[in-house]
């Protein structure tokens, strides 16, 4: 249900929507409070979620695409999303606010609502974007910052408000630059890297493969790792290598480019480990396409994308092979973004060491 009101200053409010042109952060904040009040007056079973603020800085012309991605995050919606769309030539602020609930409350039950604010800002606002956003974030909630189109000036301004940075290290064309930028941001905030999250099933499955006792002993005998990846996702492959290096105590050295990919070595505790990054032109989605791990004792495991999960092929010392499917549904890019939002509330102690090891491979 939506009940429209227009206030004396021209602000347009409703139980669900509000919008204003040439407005101010104070007016937006007041409108958010009014939306909650109206919703609650309409039905006190509506309750605003209070989990996480997400601040997004986007190019205005690509705002729709980013909003589509945000709509696909499934059940991991932030409780308050503030989208700052950068519009070249703009000097004033236009804003829209909505408060939505996915379901109508059933008798005796709650319906949790989330809020979204969209603000069109101009380039001159970016250096002090924090002064616009600060009044709009819910105090005491964690704030996650995502700037998928760059806007470093805005990021630098907002980083004091954000405890967590969401980024995708495969966005940058140069891997070394991408990892350096991530490391720089990681000094200021906790980083959630979508490239890292795309590799989670791979890391889980490799960990599971080496978990049974006979295979666990092989961890020290790993002699070669190959990561196949989407042509633009070399950083994801490097982070995967970095993870293995950090967890297994390898000393990686710089990889060299060859044939569109990269190769090099890391010094393991017992032997050298050959590392190979291979772009896979057939891979249509970002992230890894497959990984192969060989051990000095003649065992190997390969994981590749397959219907219903990952296809595992294991070769034993005697040369015998077995294959099976590791079950799991693809999360899609919407699901990955949703996972990024969820991970903002958690802490993964293994990302930073993996990042540091990955940077050593592109030094």
């Amino acid at each position: 249900m939506s009940e429209d009101h227009t206030s004396a200053n021209g602000d347009h409010t409703s139980a669900n929507h509000w919008s204003a042109q040439d407005t101010t952060p104070g007016a937006i904040e007041a409108a958010l409070r009014e939306l909650i009040r109206q919703r609650h007056a309409e039905n006190d079973s509506f309750a605003p979620a209070r989990v996480l603020n997400l601040v997004v800085v986007v190019d205005r012309e690509w705002r729709g695409e980013v909003e589509n991605r945000l709509d696909q995050v499934g059940r991991y919606h932030p409780s308050r999303t503030i989208v700052c769309a950068v519009d070249p030539g703009r000097t004033t602020l236009d804003a829209w606010a909505t408060m939505t609930a996915d379901v109508e409350p059933r008798p005796g039950e709650l319906a949790v609502c989330r809020e979204r604010v969209e603000i069109d800002v101009g380039p001159q606002h970016l250096a002090h974007l924090d002064t616009i956003v600060d009044p709009l974030v819910v105090t005491d909630l964690a704030t996650l910052l995502w700037a998928p189109h760059g806007h470093a000036e805005a990021v630098d301004s907002l980083v004091r408000l954000a405890q967590i940075m969401l980024l995708d290290s495969v966005d940058e064309p140069e891997i070394a630059d991408a990892l350096a930028r991530v490391a720089e941001l990681a000094e200021k905030a906790y980083v959630v890297d979508l490239a890292w999250l795309r590799s989670t099933p791979w890391r889980e499955r490799v960990a599971a493969t080496f978990d049974p006792e006979p295979w666990r002993a092989e961890l020290a005998r790993i002699s070669g790792v190959t990561a196949r990846h989407h042509p633009d996702s070399g950083a994801a492959g490097l982070l995967f290598f970095g993870w293995l290096a950090a967890r297994l105590g390898w000393q990686p050295s710089a990889l060299v480019a060859s044939g569109g990919g990269m190769h090099g070595k890391a010094r393991g505790r017992r032997q050298e480990v050959a590392l190979k990054l291979e772009p896979d032109p057939q891979q249509m989605v970002r992230g890894l396409a497959g990984v192969s791990i060989d051990t000095a004792s003649g065992m190997s495991i390969a994981l590749d994308r397959a219907p219903g999960g990952l296809r595992a092929t294991r070769r034993a010392r005697d040369g015998s092979e077995s294959t099976w499917t590791l079950l799991g549904a693809s999360r899609g890019e919407g699901g990955i973004l949703g996972e990024g939002v969820r991970q903002a509330l958690l802490r993964d102690p293994t990302y930073r060491p993996a990042l540091d090891a990955a940077r050593a491979m592109v030094a």
Binding site: A208, E213, R216, G308, L327, G328, A329, S330
Partner: protein
């Protein structure tokens, strides 16, 4: 099974820890629980990549089906009851490793076939799978199946962990529970046995431990010095539906109090465990149960009230009384409502009455724990013209609106010091984005991992029944007249009011 040579360094930071390759056998694989809960739970685990890296499922039941027929049934159940729409490629891959064995639960041939199928899975994969036997049958088959598993040497394996999961009810009284424990423990060690109370798999119930032991502010008042009384309520607004056959033999006391409500009581009253390992937690829960003095036969009427619903109106709908329900004998004395007053006799809780109640066809569906604190010892101002100062009440709601509410006395705006209670509320649903997994997802995964914290240990079962058994016996010895009655849609029988001491009242549903 030998222990691992070293810790797996790759597992650090992972949310989903590796689970050893597992073959899960569901006895009663064509039953309602399997179709509605277990198979959908397995699909959701597969969807999330949480199943063991290699996983097989064997359905074992009395009805004759081919493997492919059973797979088709499993597919239909998952499509119908899964909390998320299944992805065909994941479902197909899951069903690839499903087999079905028809057989009576006391039929040796079925177990021989089962043994061969389990070994065939091992041989095909070149891996010795762990074995989990899930008993999802009628309870009379539990002893039959565990004995048969022992007789066919399916209860142990030198290279694999073997576990047995036993559904509730675990016994129908103290003696039958003890007898079942004896039979189970003849074939399996206690560490292999996972007795399910699915209530413990609910996120909301686990949150009680987080609430109590992750917040320092409650501990100072969590004792007899500050708490006046506790009420634990598990009220349902529906009748028995199609469950007359089961329910009329069980009744409310066995159906909900012996397991779910007493589990809530233990979580409320237990001391902080040294760690959250299975035995540390269960040790503390058992201590609480041992501190509850089982009633003597002559005291049962004093501390327990039962009742049956009559016809009435629930949620605007006219409903039948219990004795008019299909399948219920006209002279049934099965209770659909029970209220108890228990005391936990230890230093923390001595003298604090703990009231429990559950019932069908009550005014509202709610499961909650209400802790009422003692009133302030002295009030310095007048209360004229106000509701007055009420004792603080802390309410932990398990369902439907999971949350915590604390009532406080607050000044009514104005020139005089008038007081009324206000509520400070916290709703879990507003603070977490994630959808809670079904209890069975968590419990099946825990059983496959050998994590027993959320399962009931044998001494815990014994202690639970030791409290309930005297009440059952007391009721059995009472006259055969009609039970107290309550109108469907009401707060329960009036007789329950006399249980509540010291001027307190049942909370309104």
């Amino acid at each position: 099974m030998a222990t691992a040579v070293q810790e797996n360094p790759l597992t650090k930071g992972l949310e989903r820890l590796p689970v050893h390759p597992t073959t899960l056998v569901i006895f009663g694989a064509t039953g309602d629980l399997a179709h509605r809960k277990l198979l959908p739970a397995l699909y959701n685990l597969a969807h999330e990549g949480a199943l063991p890296e290699r996983f097989n499922l064997i359905g074992f039941s009395r009805s004759e089906h081919e493997h492919e027929d059973y797979k088709a049934m499993a597919r239909e159940s998952i499509e119908r009851f899964s909390r998320r729409s299944p992805k065909p490629e994941v479902l197909d891959a899951l069903l690839e490793h499903v087999k079905y064995i028809p057989g009576n639960f006391d039929d040796a041939a079925g177990y021989e076939q089962l043994s061969k199928q389990i070994e065939a899975f091992d041989e095909q994969a070149g891996v010795t799978f762990n074995r989990v036997f899930y008993l999802s049958t009628a309870p009379e088959f539990f002893p039959v199946i565990v004995q048969a598993l022992g007789e066919h040497k399916l209860n142990r394996h030198k290279d694999a962990e073997v576990r047995v999961v036993i559904e509730k009810p675990f016994g129908t009284d103290l003696e039958s529970a003890r007898e079942l424990n004896r039979i189970v423990l003849r074939s399996f060690r206690e560490q292999q046995v996972f007795r399910i109370d699915h209530y413990l798999g609910k996120e909301t119930v686990q949150n009680m431990m987080a609430f109590r032991f992750a917040n320092a502010m409650f501990e100072p008042v969590w004792n007899r010095n500050y708490i006046d009384h506790v009420q634990i309520t598990a009220a349902e607004d529906i009748g028995i539906g199609t469950r007359a056959g089961y329910y009329d033999h069980a009744g409310a006391l066995r159906d909900l109090v012996q397991n779910h409500i007493l589990q809530l009581l233990t979580l409320l009253c237990m001391e902080p465990p040294v760690s959250f390992t299975a035995d540390e937690v269960r040790d503390e829960k058992v201590k609480v149960l041992h501190a509850i003095q089982p009633p003597r036969a002559e005291d049962v009427a004093e501390i327990a009230v039962r009742g049956q619903y009559t016809s009435g109106v629930v949620g605007g709908e006219q409903v039948r009384g219990y004795l008019e329900e299909d399948g219920v004998p006209a002279d049934s004395r099965t209770e659909t409502y029970v209220a108890l007053r228990l005391k936990v006799s230890n230093w923390r809780w001595a003298g604090v009455p703990i009231y429990l109640r559950t019932g069908k066809c009550l005014a509202r569906k709610v499961t909650e724990i209400a802790v009422t604190l003692k009133p302030v010892p002295h009030l310095a101002f007048q209360q004229e013209g106000s509701v007055g100062v009420q004792p603080n009440q802390l309410v932990l709601t398990v369902q439907p609106n999971e949350g915590v509410s604390l009532s406080l006395g607050a000044k009514i705006p104005g020139a005089t010091m008038r007081i009324r209670p206000v509520n400070m509320e916290f709703q879990y649903g507003t603070s977490f984005m994630s959808e809670s997994p079904e209890a069975y997802e968590r419990l099946i995964l825990d059983a496959m991992r050998g994590e027993a914290t959320l399962f009931t240990r044998n001494d815990e079962v014994d202690a639970l029944w030791s409290i309930i058994d005297p009440i059952l016996k007391g009721w059995a010895s009472q006259d055969g007249g009609p039970l107290p009655q309550y109108e469907a849609g009401s707060q329960g029988p009036e007789e329950a009011d006399r249980l509540v001491e010291g001027g307190a009242h049942w909370r309104a549903l």
